[in-house]
C-alpha cells in the first residue's frame, strides 16, 4: 500500500543545530499516528517541513504517492493535507460561522455551504456558538473551532499539533473521541502530543523523535515498554 505520508533522508539544520536528521518516516492511510519526544526533539519542525513552512536542506517528502518537497504550503493543502496548529490558529475578530465560511467558501456556496457549516459546528460541538466572536470562545472551544476548520477541507491527512494543550480532562477525552470518529470515516491522522493519556487513547502507532532523529517506532504498547524511551522522555513526563 502506498504510504499516505513518507519522508526520505529528510534533513533540516539551522547552522550547527539539526532539527531533522535523516528522517525516514512512513505512515499508512487510515492510521492514527502520534509523534512524541522531549522538548526540542524536532516534532514541530517535522510538521513545518511536511507543511512546507520550512524548506529541507536535504531529503524528500511524499504525500499520497507523489513528491511534494517543492510545493508551496497552500499547494500541499490543496492536495489533501490539513493542519491544526499548536496555538489556536483562528480568526479571532470574526464570528465562529465566518471562520468556517472562509474555510469552505472555495468549495461550496449557498444552502450547501450553510448546511456543511452547520454539520461541522455540530461535529465540534459549537452549534450554539455560531454567532459568537471566535476570540470570545474558551481555549478548548477555540481548539475545536480550528479542528472544525481543518477537517472542513475533508483532508486525506490531518496534522494535529498538540490538539489538547490547555484542555480539561473532559475536553481532552472529547477531542480523542472526535479523532476516532474522523479516523473511522477514513481520515489519516498524525498528531504531535505531550499528554500520554491522550496518546494512549488515540494512537495506533507512535514515533519517538529525539534530537531531530527517529529514536523509536512501534505500537503504543511497544513504546511504553521500551526502556530507552522511558529514559529520554516518559520517565521525565510521568
Amino acid at each position: 500500500m502506498t504510504a499516505i505520508l513518507a519522508t526520505e533522508g529528510l534533513q533540516k539544520n539551522f547552522g550547527g543545530v539539526f532539527v531533522a536528521r535523516d528522517i525516514r518516516f512512513a505512515m499508512q492511510p487510515g492510521e492514527i499516528h502520534c509523534l512524541i519526544g522531549p522538548n526540542g526533539a524536532g516534532k514541530s519542525s517535522f510538521f513545518r517541513l511536511v507543511l512546507g513552512q520550512h524548506k529541507p536542506n536535504a531529503g524528500a517528502i511524499f504525500f499520497d504517492g507523489a513528491e511534494i518537497t517543492a510545493l508551496k504550503p497552500f499547494e500541499r493543502i490543496r492536495r489533501g493535507l490539513s493542519v491544526k496548529f499548536q496555538v489556536p490558529g483562528i480568526f479571532k475578530a470574526l464570528t465562529v460561522w465566518q471562520n468556517l465560511e472562509i474555510a469552505l467558501q472555495d468549495h461550496l456556496s449557498g444552502d450547501s455551504l450553510a448546511a456543511e457549516i452547520r454539520e461541522t459546528l455540530a461535529f465540534v460541538d459549537l452549534a450554539g456558538q455560531a454567532r459568537e466572536r471566535a476570540g470570545n470562545l474558551s481555549h478548548g472551544q477555540q481548539q475545536w473551532l480550528e479542528i472544525g476548520m481543518a477537517i472542513s477541507l475533508k483532508p486525506k491527512l490531518l496534522l494535529l499539533d498538540e490538539p489538547t494543550a490547555g484542555m480539561s480532562d473532559d475536553e481532552t477525552a472529547k477531542t480523542g473521541d472526535m479523532v476516532h470518529r474522523l479516523n473511522r470515516e477514513g481520515m489519516s491522522i498524525l498528531a504531535v502530543e505531550h499528554d500520554m493519556t491522550f496518546v494512549k487513547q488515540i494512537a495506533q502507532r507512535v514515533t519517538v523523535l529525539h534530537f531531530g532523529e527517529i529514536f523509536a517506532q512501534g505500537t503504543i504498547d511497544e513504546i511504553v515498554a521500551d526502556e530507552r524511551v522511558a529514559e529520554i522522555y516518559l520517565g521525565k513526563a510521568q
Partner: protein, 381 residues
C-alpha cells in the same frame, strides 16, 4: 467532491468523509446577489437605520451647493479628492493588514502622469478622462510590479512600511531635482521642486462647447458621485469572498494559507486596488488645482493618509470615510483661521486615538453605542 451535505444535519453529527475537496468552486450570484454584498458582515454600518442615515447624508450633500457659493463648494470638493486614497489605504491596511506607507508614491505618479498627458495632448474630445484612466492604470501597473516583489518576497509587517515609505521618498527626491529644462516630457516641464502646472482641469466634451470642471459646483457633484460609487463598490469588494480572505489574512496569515489560499495573490490584489485609488486621488487633486509638486510624495504627505485612516478606524470603510473627511475639515479650518498648531493638533489626534481608541475614533464611538444599547436592553429586562 462529496454530495451536498444533509440539510437536516441532526446530532450526532456525521463526520465529513476524507475524500479531499475540489477547489475553485464558482459562485454565480447574479447582479442582485452582488449588490446584496454591500450590506455584508465586513462592514460595520448595516441595516435599515444605517442606510436611512446614508440616504439622508447623500441628500444633504446633494442639496448643500444650493446653500453655498461656488468657491466654497469647490473647496469642499477638494476634501473629496483625498478620500479615494484613504479608502484605498483602508483596504490595504485595515482589511488586508499590510501597512503601506507609500500611498503618496502612487498619488504623485498618477498626478504627474495626468499632467504630462494632458499638457501634451490637451483636453479636447474628453481626453482628460482618458488621461485619468491611463494615469490610474499606470499606478496599477506600478503597484503590480512593486507589490509582486513585496508580497511574493514575503515582506510583511514593519518592513513593508519601510520599503513603501522609501519608494515614495525616492520618487520625491527624484522629482525635486528635475528643475532644469532638460527635464521635460514633450511640452510638459517637470519643474523640480516648484512642481508642474498648467494642466487642464477635467473637461467634459459638450456639443455647445466643452465644459471645463474648475473647482465649482459641477466638479463637486462629479466627485461626490465618484466618492459614493467608490465607497459602495469597495463595500461589495470587502464583503465578497475576496474580502473574506483579506480579513482572514489580516487576522491570521498562516491559518489563511493553511486553508489553501495563496495569500500572496490576495495581498497583491488588495495592494493594487488600494494603490490605484491613491492614483485616482492624485489625478483628481492635480485636475482640481492644476498643480502638483514633489512635496505631495514627501514624508509629511505620506504620513497624512495613515493619520486620517487610523483616526477614523482603518478596519471599516465607513469609519475611514467619515474620519478622513472630519480630520481634513478640522485641519483645514485650523489652518484657515490662523492656527499655527494645525499639525500639532493632528499629531495629538493620532496620539489620543492610539492610546484610547486603537481601532479608531469612529469605530470607538460605534462600539460605545453598541455597549450602551446592550446595557439599556439588559436594564429593561
Amino acid at each position: 467532491m462529496s454530495g451536498p451535505a444533509d440539510m437536516g444535519s441532526a446530532k450526532p453529527a456525521s463526520v465529513p468523509s476524507a475524500a479531499g475537496r475540489d477547489r475553485g468552486h464558482r459562485v454565480r450570484r447574479g447582479f442582485l446577489g452582488t449588490l446584496k454584498l454591500v450590506n455584508g458582515p465586513q462592514t460595520l454600518g448595516r441595516g435599515p437605520i444605517f442606510w436611512s442615515g446614508f440616504v439622508v447624508a447623500c441628500l444633504l450633500a446633494g442639496i448643500y451647493p444650493l446653500f453655498a457659493d461656488g468657491w466654497t463648494v469647490g473647496n469642499t470638493a477638494y476634501f473629496f479628492t483625498w478620500t479615494f486614497m484613504a479608502m484605498g489605504l483602508s483596504v490595504i491596511w485595515g482589511y488586508a493588514g499590510a501597512l503601506s506607507f507609500g500611498q503618496t508614491a502612487f498619488f504623485g505618479l498618477s498626478g504627474y502622469a495626468y499632467g504630462v498627458l494632458t499638457i501634451n495632448i490637451g483636453s479636447a474630445y474628453g481626453f482628460t478622462f482618458a488621461a485619468l484612466v491611463l494615469a490610474v492604470g499606470l499606478a496599477a501597473v506600478f503597484a503590480l510590479s512593486l507589490g509582486y516583489f513585496l508580497f511574493y518576497g514575503r515582506i510583511s509587517g514593519v518592513f513593508l512600511g519601510i520599503v513603501t515609505l522609501s519608494v515614495t521618498l525616492v520618487l520625491e527626491t527624484f522629482m525635486a531635482q528635475t528643475a532644469g529644462p532638460e527635464w521635460a516630457i514633450g511640452a510638459a516641464r517637470l519643474n523640480g521642486f516648484n512642481g508642474m502646472t498648467g494642466m487642464p482641469p477635467l473637461t467634459v466634451p459638450w456639443p455647445g462647447g466643452d465644459i471645463a470642471l474648475w473647482p465649482d459646483i459641477p466638479l463637486y457633484y462629479l466627485l461626490l458621485g465618484a466618492m459614493i460609487a467608490c465607497y459602495l463598490g469597495l463595500r461589495i469588494v470587502v464583503n465578497s469572498r475576496f474580502g473574506n480572505v483579506l480579513v482572514a489574512i489580516r487576522e491570521n496569515p498562516d491559518r489563511a494559507e493553511m486553508l489553501g489560499y495563496d495569500i500572496r495573490r490576495y495581498q497583491l490584489g488588495a495592494f493594487i486596488i488600494g494603490s490605484s485609488l491613491a492614483g485616482l486621488s492624485g489625478v483628481l487633486y492635480t485636475a482640481w488645482g492644476q498643480y502638483i509638486t514633489p512635496n505631495s510624495m514627501g514624508l509629511y504627505a505620506a504620513a497624512l493618509p495613515i493619520v486620517w485612516v487610523a483616526v477614523g478606524g482603518r478596519s471599516d470603510l465607513t469609519a475611514t470615510l467619515i474620519g478622513t473627511l472630519l480630520v481634513l475639515w478640522v485641519f483645514q479650518t485650523l489652518t484657515i483661521y490662523g492656527s499655527q498648531y494645525a499639525l500639532v493638533v493632528m499629531g495629538a489626534m493620532l496620539l489620543v486615538t492610539v492610546l484610547f481608541a486603537p481601532r479608531g475614533l469612529i469605530i470607538g464611538v460605534a462600539d460605545l453605542g453598541g455597549w450602551l444599547r446592550a446595557r439599556l436592553r439588559r436594564g429593561r429586562s
